[in-house]
């Protein structure tokens, strides 16, 4: 079930750039239409968005000060959630493909110490942990093999830039008899669990029972 890197060679820069441009346009349109709200990052409500944060942050050990990269951060909702949960000294970096999203984030969180935002798809720094919420869900009309190469490239980058571990979430597969929306990506958990265990040499915990038709992978360095 593990993606085969030889069958799925690294995508060319041009292919990835085109894919990133599509994602950027989609989320820029969302934030332009709905502003710094859950709808502005394509979630239906704040509680639904934050229930994902609860799962992703299980990878972190908050007993000690930590640094955190948030890939696909949108307008920085996770930063507000961290603060409300009392993790105000987390050293946070949010990264998003959409410059408009990052402009909203910088405006909203201008006064928050130990926080920064940058436009792009990689954090450009190593942190204790990284998280990415919902970034693999909407595949648009991209071919499956290209999307999976994007997922693999992103997991590689998350692993490389995380000293202790990272967490990502995926939509869960539907029954084979159910025609799902073709623009959504719903891989079986074993696919990327296997890749992170065997390809990245990490320990992986799969969280699935939190009321949503999706799952979260907590990936910790051995």
């Amino acid at each position: 079930m593990t993606p085969n890197p030889r069958r799925n060679p690294r995508p060319s820069d041009e292919q990835l750039d085109a894919l990133y441009s599509g994602i950027e346009r989609y989320y820029t349109a969302k934030v332009a239409a709905h502003g710094a709200t859950p709808l502005g990052v394509d979630w239906d409500s704040a509680p639904a968005q934050e229930l994902r944060f609860v799962q992703l942050l299980r990878v972190c050990d908050f007993a000690e000060p930590l640094s955190l990269n948030d890939i696909g951060c949108g307008w920085g909702a996770l930063l507000g959630f961290l603060d409300r949960r009392g993790h105000t000294n987390a050293d946070y970096l949010g990264v998003d493909l959409s410059a408009r999203m990052i402009a909203e984030a910088k405006r909203l969180w201008a006064g928050r110490a130990r926080s920064a935002f940058a436009t792009g798809h990689t954090p450009g720094r190593t942190a204790d942990y990284s998280v990415a919420s919902g970034i693999f869900n909407v595949k648009f009309s991209q071919p499956l093999d290209l999307w999976e190469r994007f997922v693999q490239t992103t997991l590689d980058a998350l692993h490389a830039s995380s000293r202790r571990g990272f967490a990502v979430n995926f939509l869960a597969p539907l029954d084979a008899s159910v025609p799902g929306a073709p623009e959504l990506y719903r891989p079986a958990p074993q696919i990327w669990q296997g890749y992170c265990e065997r390809g990245l040499g990490a320990n992986v915990e799969v969280l699935a029972d939190y009321g949503m038709r999706e799952y979260t992978l907590l990936v910790r360095r051995r």
Partner: protein, 168 residues
């Protein structure tokens, strides 16, 4: 809702549908957003429905008051707020408090039920202007599914339209 929604009455059905989908039975295999399992998890984590917090506030947090039309949203909230002053079929509880209490109990139950929101004509009977809560029932004849039912009072807005000012 009538007097509250006025020309926005056309959206009453879609607002009702948003509520009913959010509390719907969780489909075993299908593509679905929200649904009962998610509501149970959200309630457990965030206590969205809470004693002392109005139904209206919780519904706003769940973004269930119409996403696109701000006036519809404002009118719907005004209607929901008015339920604080409306009675219920739960002794000593306002419509609002009775709904919140029933939803909290249901979502924390061992076997929570989906919740079905329906509407009744408050003028159809003497005590029609109440929120009616049924702990378990089958509101949909085409589904073998028990629900907790919350029926909201609603009336025709039969106020006269405002007279047009005459041109001088």
């Amino acid at each position: 809702m009538g007097v509250f929604m006025q020309e926005h009455d056309v959206y009453v059905g879609s607002l009702q549908e948003m509520l009913n989908l959010r509390f719907a039975p969780t489909a075993a295999s299908g593509e679905q957003h929200g649904g009962l399992n998610e509501m149970v998890a959200l309630q457990k984590e965030f206590e969205i429905f809470r004693a002392g917090r109005t139904f209206d506030t919780s519904i706003a947090a769940l973004n269930l008051s119409g996403m696109h039309n701000p006036e519809t949203k404002a009118r719907f909230h005004r209607y929901l707020n008015s339920l604080r002053k409306v009675k219920s079929n739960v002794a000593g509880k306002s419509g609002d408090a009775a709904m919140v209490e029933a939803i909290i109990a249901n979502l924390s139950a061992k076997k929570p039920l989906p919740v079905y929101f329906e509407l009744h004509d408050l003028n159809a009977s003497k005590d029609g202007n109440r929120v009616l809560i049924t702990a378990k029932g089958r509101p949909l004849f085409y589904m073998k599914q028990d629900y907790m039912i919350i029926s909201l009072p609603l009336a025709l807005d039969d106020s006269k339209p405002k007279a047009k000012s005459k041109a001088k």
